[in-house]
Amino acid sequence: MTLWSRLRSWAQATLRRSRMESEMDAELRFHIEAFAEDLVRGGVLRTEALRRARLEFGSVERVKQEGREARGVNLSGELLQDLHYGQRVLRKSPGFTAVAVLTLALGIGANTAIFSVVNAVLLSPLPYADADRLVLVKEVLPHAGPQPVSVSGPDIAQIQKLNHVFEKVAGFRVWTYEFSGRGEPQRVTSDRISSELFDVLGVQPIVGRVFTAEEELAGPRVVILSYGLWQRGYGGQPGVLGQTANLDREPYTIVGVMPQSLVFPLPGMAQGVAADLWVPLGFTKAELEDVGDNFDYSVVARRKPGVSLGQVNADLQLVARGVLETYEKSARDAHQSLGDFQLGMASEPLRDEVTGPPRPTLLVLLGSVGLVLLIACVNVANLLMMRAAGRQKEMAVRLAIGAGRFRLLRQFLVEGMLLAFLGGALGLAVGLGLKDALVAGMPRSIPRFHPIALDWTVLLFSFLIVSLVGLVFGALPAIWTSGTNPNASLKDGARGTSEGLDGQRTRAAFVVVEVALSMMLLIGAGLLVRSFQRVLNTNPGFRPEHVLTVSMDLPPAAYSRDEQVVSFYKQLTDRLRQTPGIVDVGGSTDLPLLGGWTHAFTPEGYRSSPGAGLNMCNHSVIYGDYLEVMAIPLLRGRYFTEHDGPGSTHVLIASESLAKKYWPGENPLGKRLKWGTAESADSWLTIVGVVGDVKQGPLDSVTALHTYEPYAQLGSAPSLRIAVRSQGEPGAAAAAVRAAAWGLDRQLALGDVRPMDEVIRRSTAGRRFSLAVVGAFAVLALTLAAIGIYAVLAYSVVRRTHEIGVRMALGAGRADVVRMVLGQGLRVTAIGILFGVAGALGLTRFLESLLYEVQPTDPPTFVVVLLLLVSVVVAASYLPARRASRLDPLVALRYE
């Protein structure tokens, strides 16, 4: 009852505040008038009675105030008052408010945007049921290196059989197919998968079913469509089940459709291209018997509940031993020995695999945007402090007429919060815009399996930042002014309170912090710029201009005989060579920058040092004038000719570094090597030429050893990346390639039609992105710091007007005054730079993974940033300095 009535009274008082106020007015008025009437009745004059009644009643305002307090409405009421007052204060100095709110909005907006990306990529769970239990299993071949590799096909079944730690295990391998008969033929990305894959992921088809265990072995051709391909190719009809999909010219029966939300494999995974469709692994008997080879499959597994990663890895060692036994048995059957062949297994959370690569970049971005927010906060704190100094008199007056110190503190807090939330609101708008720009520019290397949005987590993050900022901003000036002694301040006020050393020191400290933080960001950005330059200046080993590449994979069903393949490519290149504008045509099994398979080889007579492992190199089978089209320079010997074929000596072209490594100081021409180990049955290949090194991986990767073999020597290779050098725009050649290819085979799907310079651009996209973002932050930081330094010096000149006047009156020249102000700015900057350099030396090592051929302590970067910073400080100090020097000593002396 009591509690209820209290609540009701409070609620009424709070909600119907104006009514309560007017009732209180009416009640008190009634009292005074009734009292006055009694006095009149007692013989006092009416006018005099009212005056006496009021006098005796005392302060109506105080009674009302106590009345409000008695009803417990005071807190919210006063808070409203504070808000109202705060809002008036902010409105009264629009310049200050605009600068502060805008600064905060930039800081908060940038943080919101970056955090929305970090949240979606690093913090959100993977889009599968109970995704934390998913791990990737890999095999380790100690003789080939410590890095885990993919799994050999037949081992998938062994892992499924031998492990004790997984609920389900599934293997998969990315594959591409020609998808024809439904509009223009296209290359689709597909996944060959174990039947358990969708159980491992915890996903159900929306139409139809998943594969059965029987379908996993080569047999019926069945396919499950992704939602996208279902819509694209079949108009999303539910009747799609039982229809056929034409893959590589063979009919596959559609048995299911997966939901739109399913993305697998995830971008960022080793074989990470989201699949358009899934087919069973379809191992043939021969493939299952080919143990210990073709480590080409990925394995994903779901841990049993409560099983730790450590337990998984311990169990996998036993599994690896079991798998090795199958190798030994098979080797015994073939009357061979495995030698010192070893096999290990390792697993890591699926999440680490996906979020690992983009993590350093994103953390660097998050760190730099945090620095920007810090600088923004320091700037605003600086402004607030100057204002607090100016408001000391106001505070003194309020204290003198009876405001409590708590009330003043609260006033500051409310003002700080008001600023922070205004900045935050605008910041959200800024963040939304920045986020869209970020997402648009985001490279593929940052996986996107969740939409990047300002969701609740992001909003909460921004809200926390804003609240923290508001709290600090409220507390700081409150602390500075809380020492205010009303008496001293009011007396002092006559001559613009001479500022204590404390205030000057604090402001100097702010500038030091700003300069230091900007310095760190600038150095970070500088290092990224230098790395980017280095990468762009890297010689890729070929000339990308005017080169167009197109992937062609001739389906075995239609090109079962080698002659068919050979004839297709011969006719294609002949036709293209006759096309006006096309200079030269060639083809290769893999293209620069896009990676490729590595092969083990044995150079003749080469004795490798013990424990050095296998000799590995990249290997391309090339067709036509590939080396000429790519302009990969011939250093020794010759390019391949039409005479190199199955009938003649088997030939090879080696890259410069391979030749140098295995035949240093010798003529590599005429030397021989063969695939596999020395005992392998392959024939020797004779080196007839040496060409320049080519970047097979991204521009910033290590240059791999490389060999080239002529296509004709192998009989046939149905998959080629056709490269065309044209006179004009490479895009124009695309039409010619299409016409030529479809003239020969209308059903053929052409994949990855792109100019080589676009491939280069794409390979640097990640770098370009982080450079653009960190660079933008650094520029923002520098601008904010310049504003901060300008504000501090300008303010200090105003406060020192009198002093400057005295100095000038005593004979200081204008140059002396300029020197004094500039000196003040530079001294503080110098300290800031010292801290900045120290901080940068400590922090830039976190950048190391993003740098390329640049040390984190790169002296030129430090020097350039230092010069930049000093010139900006001089520019920012010059205006206040000039203003100080133009002061009229007479006016300055009288200045108050």
Partner: protein, 113 residues
């Protein structure tokens, strides 16, 4: 008029509860009634009456409603609630026993110890 006494700390609430227990009254009326009962021997700060009234109302011991005064004016009347009645009773007992004890102590003569 006898010398006026200052109100003991904390007793105003009790007096208000007693005053309105005799029938609904407006603020000014409560003041008059206390003065009348005390035969003008208690000095009550007029301004202090209202915060006390609001406090008591907030605590649910008295309730208020707008009514018409003797001279046909709108006035806010207060009356005792059931909770207020219990409160008044408790306070009265408490006060009486306290007064007895204090009076006993103050009335002690040296030979009684």
């Amino acid at each position: 008029m006898d010398k006026q006494l200052d109100l003991l700390q904390g007793t105003l609430d009790m007096l208000i509860l007693k005053a309105v227990s005799l029938g609904p009254l407006h603020g000014y009326g409560i003041l008059l009634r206390i003065q009348q009962i005390s035969k003008d021997r208690l000095e009550i700060q007029q301004g202090s009456l209202y915060p006390a009234l609001y406090r008591l109302e907030h605590q649910g011991w008295i309730a208020s409603e707008w009514g018409e005064s003797e001279n046909k004016r709108k006035a806010k009347y207060y009356r005792l609630t059931a909770a207020g009645k219990r409160r008044l009773q408790a306070e009265t007992e408490n006060w009486n026993s306290m007064a007895d004890v204090i009076a006993g102590i103050l009335g002690t003569k040296p030979e009684e110890i």
